[in-house]
């Protein structure tokens, strides 16, 4: 009985001590105290979060990689305009129309595309994107009153617009959201490193670098194979559910690029390849049965390497798509 009573007293004491703990201490601190490592006060927080959103005018051909508000006003008829959006690999793009003043009946249009499309070639390709091509275009003139917000499926998106009447235009806000498992990515920079993870998903993911690069794969884990289950060399990677392939080409669409190498065995270490194409893509094909991961880094081939390796001509390998 005495021990039970003591246990209860101890519990009460612990409970009281918790109520008098540090959390309450921090809440009671005021802004007037001289403390260099003070957590931001309420006023300070308001000042930080209430900073004015970045705002600038949108150009007819533009590329945006920052959050903010962008306004396009036609000073003259602008018939062929587009703006690209790009974020970090782990980000998704969200576009919200704030104000639109275009004459849809008069031939103006404003369309958002989920991805990038250049010379008719799309990224991600039709094979790798969850939506059919028709659903990747969101036409404001058709669905503007219903859908004024758009979120991309990857770190890139773009809009196409045409405005005939000077003075007409539109305004939108770009925000970026986190993407836990980036799948299709276009790199903003010719140098970087990335780890692509496909956790039990039946999907294909591409990482595109629109520069001639040397790419070094440091770690590849494909869940279906280990060192004891070597496939017959004659079969190669064809028919294997999970593998990584390197593609090179002169267009944006990975499905129209030529495969340079394929890897279907896990390894740790480094495998390096120089690819002198305008666009280099590392693509992981995943069956969904395993957790697949590939880590790699890349940097741009410098001009010396491009010009002085005559025996490896870039033009001979990367030909224009037909």
């Amino acid at each position: 009985m005495a021990s039970a009573f003591r246990l209860q007293c101890h519990c009460i004491l612990i409970f009281l001590a918790a109520l008098k703990g540090e959390t309450r201490y921090l809440e009671a601190r005021g802004t007037g105290e001289d403390e260099p490592f003070l957590l931001p006060s309420a006023d300070l927080k308001r000042e930080l979060t209430g900073r004015q959103l970045y705002h600038r005018a949108l150009r007819c051909i533009d590329m945006l990689s920052v959050e903010g508000q962008f306004t396009f006003t036609a000073e003259q008829p602008q018939l062929h305009c587009a703006a690209f959006f790009i974020g970090d690999p782990e980000e998704l793009i969200t576009l919200d129309y704030d104000f639109v003043n275009i004459d849809c009946q008069g031939g103006d249009f404003l369309k958002v595309f989920d991805g990038w499309i250049l010379k008719g070639e799309k990224f991600p390709s039709s094979l790798d994107h969850p939506l059919p091509t028709s659903e990747r275009y969101i036409d404001f003139c058709e669905s503007g009153n219903i859908r004024r917000s758009f979120r991309s499926s990857q770190n890139v998106a773009m809009i196409f617009f045409r405005v005939h009447e000077p003075g007409n235009g539109f305004m939108f806000t770009i925000k970026k959201n986190a993407n836990l498992f980036p799948c299709n990515v276009i790199s903003q920079t010719p140098t970087g490193r990335f780890t692509m993870v496909i956790p039990h998903q039946h999907r294909n993911c591409s990482f595109s670098i629109i520069y001639p690069v040397v790419i070094k794969i440091s770690d590849l884990i494909l869940g279906h194979l280990n060192s004891l289950h070597l496939k017959k060399p004659s079969t190669g990677c064809a028919g294997v559910g999970d593998f990584v392939e390197l593609l090179g080409g002169t267009g944006l669409d990975p499905s129209k690029m030529f495969p340079l190498a394929d890897l279907c065995q896990s390894f740790h270490g480094s495998a390096q390849m120089k690819i002198g194409c305008d666009n280099t893509v590392l693509r992981m094909v995943s069956s969904g049965k395993h957790i697949n991961r590939v880590s790699f880094e890349y940097h741009q081939l410098d001009q010396y390497e491009l010009e002085n390796r005559k025996e490896n001509s870039i033009e001979e390998f990367c030909f224009p798509s037909i």
Partner: protein, 177 residues
């Protein structure tokens, strides 16, 4: 007469004699159509190294393949005798396989991608109307070169860095108050 006979005989001989360079042409279209498989680097001829190895690097090249043995892997995987093809044939096979690969892709016209219902069966009059409508629609793809794309990308990157620097400066000013 004799000259004509000789000329026609020569033409027949050239046409009918087996041509090693053109071996890939004798492949059935179906086999060629199924060609666009990645080069099978795990099935190297015994005398040639695997293209991709740990710690080694290779330039990928097409053209004069005699100089770079590893580049001979750069052939259609459907051709079992690719390793024995001369370099010119390898290049032509590569080009042919790539063209076939491109031709096999479903043709998606820019105009058809603008609206819904792509690929659906349509009646002829409606199809004609839609085609006319699409032909009037503006292009929905930009013909920008990679060079220009990189230029605007670098401009966007510079803008992002400037914006980040501005935000950092503001933050320091606020914290310093």
């Amino acid at each position: 007469m004799k000259l004509q006979l000789l000329v026609s005989t020569g033409i027949l001989l050239v046409a009918l004699l087996p041509c090693h360079d053109c071996r890939a042409l004798s492949k059935s279209p179906a086999a060629a159509a199924s060609a666009p498989l990645p080069p099978d680097f795990l099935q190297p001829p015994p005398s040639l190294p695997v293209l991709l190895r740990m710690g080694e690097e290779y330039f990928l090249r097409l053209g004069n393949l005699n100089k770079i043995p590893a580049a001979s892997f750069f052939a259609s995987s459907s051709s079992s005798s690719s390793s024995r093809l001369p370099p010119g044939a390898l290049a032509s096979n590569f080009f042919r396989a790539a063209v076939q690969q491109l031709q096999q892709l479903p043709e998606r016209s820019l105009e058809s991608a603008a609206g819904p219902g792509e690929g659906e069966a349509e009646s002829l009059p409606r199809e004609v109307m839609e085609r006319e409508k699409r032909s009037e629609e503006p292009p929905i793809s930009l013909d920008l070169t990679f060079h220009l794309l990189r230029e605007v990308l670098e401009m966007a990157r510079a803008e992002q860095l400037a914006q980040q620097a501005h935000s950092n400066r503001k933050l320091m000013e606020i914290i310093g108050k």
